[in-house]
Symmetry: C2
Subunit: 275 residues, 2 copies
């Protein structure tokens, strides 16, 4: 079902590239154009067939009816500013960044025409990056959180459903609060845990430690942007985590077997319930 | 190669059961006897063929030439006391518990004959427990840490090599220090992280959070015992982890992009290097 004529994806990495593949596979647009900064990425994207055509010039958005902003959060906000006056009136702009409040604020500030801006966050990803790892099925059966100031745009909701997502709408602040705890804090913990391991302990690391820290191999720029952009809620969630950690540490310190068992059991029961 | 005539495994769960299967597969003993507390576990172990015979009486150790103590740490120390005066002079006793210092202390205190006691920790495991999940290949290509007061017993080293492990000997304190950081702290973090998630956030949990907290589904009794038994080193390692966490939190708080990027990059580089 053709929902759009010309889709322009700015930032054809893991997420942008996977979206390009999915749009093409589901035939949701007549044409998918990727905007690239480097020829190298363009050639990789072409090889992966993630886009139909490539451009090195943002002005190719001018006759698009959907522009997708992908990449690190700061890159997205920079692109909002740059494309605001290039797009047609009928063009819908979405982003697929990992935070939402500041991106929506930027959009509100710079996109002055009648253009509709919808903040989107498909909850899919990998610790790998780059269009070489793009996968048309990446978003299949995942949740896409949609945040917009006004009533959520029905065409965009339909778009994500066609991509294979379950769409949940909420305000940007709630999105950022949820993600701070479910995604951002786990990354911070993984970074800290890896950094606390002396070199000569590394050979003794087993599958538990490896799973716990898999996401510590994530992209530096992406995570630097996310953690600083969602700073207050990340610090807030770290405090909540810290309180739970303190309860466990206290039970250990005081040899409080029953209290410790209760806390472990609570975690086990909850964790086992995750699908 | 028959290294032993009669092996008795006390505690036929995931580890004890997998060891039974491996001993039988590699034909390292003429007979493998399991000691059980419940008929239910005995029947499960029999069905899995993890042991040749079962017994509900610890006195079956009396003509064994190898006794393996498995199960939670407290159960192991309790069994050391109970079998100390039941075994023959030529019997070697090993344990496969997750901590070593206190187990070796117990052995030293109660095993008064000429019996050799060797503390062993094959670094293999799952968040699942029980003989139903036992697997003859569980220890294949993993490290087995061997701790003993005197020169490591060559027969036991040979035993673990036949099982498929790379054997590393060290003193019990070093073992406990390494495992505190590489295994015990990750569990505490996983418990705390799961406990800090509100119920209504659970549907938004993605693969990153799931991997980070997989080990939070571990057994309550086993982990209660480990964390209390290795209390001081666990608290010590938690402090080291906390210092690393503080550095990240500080960089976030102060919007220190370069310092944050440095810490993330350090973690990424190290994590990617893990095999």
């Amino acid at each position: 079902m053709k929902l759009f004529n010309k889709v322009v994806i700015i930032g054809v990495g893991l997420i942008g590239g996977s979206l390009g593949l999915a749009i093409k596979k589901k035939r949701l647009a007549n044409k998918v154009i990727g905007v690239f900064r480097s020829k190298d990425t363009f050639l990789k994207a072409k090889k992966r067939k993630a886009v139909d055509e490539g451009s090195f010039d943002l002005s190719c958005v001018k006759d698009a009816d959907l522009v997708v902003l992908a990449g690190p959060v700061k890159t997205i906000t920079a692109h909002i500013k740059l494309i605001a006056n290039l797009v047609n009136r009928n063009c819908i702009i979405i982003d697929v960044g990992s935070t939402k409040s500041n991106i929506l604020k930027s959009a509100q500030k710079y996109i002055k025409n009648d253009n509709i801006f919808v903040g989107c966050h498909p909850l899919a990803g990998l610790e790998k990056r780059g269009v070489v790892n793009a996968d048309s099925g990446l978003f299949e059966d995942s949740i896409c959180i949609v945040c917009s100031k006004n009533k959520p745009n029905s065409k965009i909701i339909s778009f994500w459903k066609h991509i294979g997502c379950r769409v949940i709408t909420m305000d940007a602040k709630r999105h950022d609060r949820i993600l701070a705890l479910t995604s951002h804090v786990p990354h911070v913990l993984a970074f800290a845990l890896v950094n606390s391991v002396p070199k000569d302990f590394v050979q003794f690391i087993g599958s538990g430690f490896k799973d716990t820290t898999r996401i510590a191999a994530s992209d530096v720029e992406v995570w630097n942007d996310i953690l600083l952009d969602n700073k207050n809620l990340v610090l807030d969630s770290l405090r909540n985590f810290g309180n739970q950690l303190d309860r466990l540490a206290k039970a250990i310190k005081k040899n409080n077997t029953s209290s410790l068992a209760k806390l472990i059991k609570k975690a086990k029961t909850k964790r086992v319930s995750f699908k």
